[in-house]
Symmetry: C2
Subunit: 120 residues, 2 copies
């Protein structure tokens, strides 16, 4: 992280939500973890396009913000599992709703941006 030029407005729910969840992979990460994929290695494999480093960073931010927690099992090879905190779980209905909305909007957006109908 770094020092933001414009600080978070704690009075504004949208500002707060954007701070903790408004980045490229976070919704996706929370979604996958809620589905049972908990290990970093598995998440890298499950999520198309994310890299190890980026995953680590976003996981650690989610952990810092209290949406994720992790457990380290002293096995060999080392096993680490991330899981949702209550705050993280409280976000699931929202993530689901956003996903639903996006699915419904996809064909419209495709027409707008590419000028053709989708076959979905």
């Amino acid at each position: 992280m770094y020092q933001r030029k414009i600080p978070i407005d704690y009075e504004c729910g949208l500002s707060v939500a954007m701070e903790v969840v408004g980045s490229k992979w976070k919704f996706c990460l929370l979604d996958e973890i809620s589905k049972g994929i908990k290990r970093p290695r598995d998440l890298v494999n499950a999520i198309n396009g994310i890299t190890k480093r980026v995953l680590q960073k976003q996981l650690s931010e989610l952990e810092l913000h209290g949406l994720l927690s992790k457990t380290i099992y002293p096995e060999v090879p080392l096993r680490v599992e991330y899981f949702l905190t209550p705050s993280g779980e409280s976000l699931l209905p929202l993530i689901s709703a956003v996903d639903q909305w996006g699915m419904g909007f996809a064909s419209q957006l495709k027409v707008i941006l590419e000028g053709k109908d989708s076959e979905i």
Copy 2:
């Protein structure tokens, strides 16, 4: 806009939603417009921190994506009003939910980032 390096995944609702709504001011803008603030000048005044240029850009993106529409009244001085399309309106419950969640999470985030309780 520009040509994205990584294209939108139309199969993924989260990806689609992030594309049209995942930027700093869009939730806020849709929220204000739904509350009846429709003119660019009024939006600049209503939203703390946004500038004229940024407002114009985000409004035009929302318009391009089909969440907003605008009407030009040939008055003097010129009057322009933006309003929500049905797609834009379908987003309102979600924005409200995100805002609610953020409000509920604010005090926790404040403790985490600043180490002190809020007085809200």
